[in-house]
Structures are given as C-alpha cells and as structure tokens.
C-alpha cells in the first residue's frame, strides 16, 4: 500500500499559490520525497524531489520539515493548465523498485 496520505481534492483560482500537503509518518532514513503531476489520459510526470528543508525548481517548491514526516508541494500563481492530479511518493533512490502511488490530490483551478 502507498506510504503516503494526501487530501483527495483541492480547489483554487488562477493566480493563487497552492499548497498540497502529504503525510508520510513512516518515512525511512534513506527515502526521498517525490511529487508527480498527471493530466487526463497521460502518464504522470515528475515535478520535484527532495530530502530535507526546501527545494525549488522552475515549476514548484517543496518544503520538508526537520522530522520529515510530511512535505508540502507549493505551486506559485497557478493557471488553468495546472488542473491535474498530484501524487506524493516516498522511496529510496538507490533501490526505488517499489513505487506505490496513492489516490493523489485532484487540483482544480478555476478562472
């Protein structure tokens, strides 16, 4: 079973910042946290990955507190095209042969 818990759905409006939180209470020492985005009729696409503190790329930021039992994906100034399902996974990159996705968070961005 997936090792993470996320909200089932979220709504937002264009131009707002969206924060999606993921709980992973049993994260292991070697696990990294990875987020994916999925549009309808497509496979998921990698967004961002982190181990601790904060990671930022051109698409999103990932905030990870010191205890690493949760993480927050932050999408700045969302647009309609950010409407998608977002998945949080934890796993060891060295092995990474057990990738279980949960139900994800369905984000709907409204005009």
């Amino acid at each position: 079973l997936a090792k993470t818990t996320q909200p089932i759905s979220m709504d937002s409006y264009e131009g707002q910042e969206v924060n999606i939180t993921c709980s992973h209470n049993n994260i292991a020492t070697n696990d990294y946290i990875t987020w994916y985005q999925q549009f309808p009729s497509q496979g998921p696409r990698f967004i961002i990955q982190g181990y601790k503190t904060k990671v930022t790329n051109e698409v999103a930021s990932l905030f990870i507190p010191a205890d690493r039992k949760s993480s927050t994906l932050s999408l700045p100034r969302v647009s309609l095209s950010d409407t998608a399902v977002y998945y949080c996974l934890v796993g060891d990159p060295l092995y990474n042969n057990d990738m279980r996705f949960g139900a994800g968070t369905r984000l709907t961005v409204k005009p």
Binding site: T34, S41, Q42, G43, P44, L89, N96, M99, F101
Partner: protein, 111 residues
C-alpha cells in the same frame, strides 16, 4: 530524452482472450513497473521488475502475469481477459533515481 513506449494506445479484446501489453524503454533502466488506473482509484501497482527475469507482485497481481526476458522490455499478460480488467494500463521505468518515466498508456476494453 528517456522514452517509454507502450505497444498500443487502444485495445479491444474479447472475454477469455489472452492479452499481451508490451512496454519498451530505451534508457537502460533497471526497474520497470505496470500499473492500472481506474477513475477515482489513482494508480495501482500490478507488478514490478528490478532486473531481467526478476518480478515482484504489486498490490493487485491477481489475473495478471509479467515477463522480462530483456532489460528494455516488460510485458504484462492477461491470461484470460475479463470485463473487470477494462482499464487504462501504464508502464513506467526508473534507474538509480526516484524519477519515473511513464509510457503514454494503453486503454484496454474487454467486451
């Protein structure tokens, strides 16, 4: 660019047929995965493989088998297709990182 290619975008099969879904990746990845996705259920892991001829059951292996005779190819087999196996099937691969690359998906309809 990493490419994960699934042999068919759409398939229609009859109940009781043996069905083969093929997946090929061109980046020498060790790990390959098969998922099915149904509305509201996210991605569910059927089988994964971490090496040639090696396979591990995921969360829903019943009714499916897999084959990995070559590193680049991972096949999902429905031994006797049933209507409850109508779904979107997604293949993915990873190699040494937590970033997974997905194929475009195969929408299978069993009638």
């Amino acid at each position: 660019d990493v490419k994960v290619t699934q042999s068919s975008r759409y398939l229609v099969k009859r109940t009781g047929e043996k069905v083969f879904l093929e997946c090929v990746q061109d980046m020498d990845h060790e790990n390959m995965f098969w998922y099915r996705q149904d509305p509201g259920l996210g991605l569910r892991l059927i089988y994964f493989s971490y090496d040639v001829k090696m396979k591990e059951k995921g969360d829903i292996p019943e009714g499916y088998s897999v084959s990995r005779e070559k590193k680049e190819r991972f096949s999902l087999i429905l031994e006797s297709a049933s209507t409850n196996q109508t779904s979107m099937y997604l293949c993915a691969s990873t190699g040494g990182t937590t970033e997974a690359f997905f194929g475009q998906g195969t929408r299978l309809t069993v009638v």
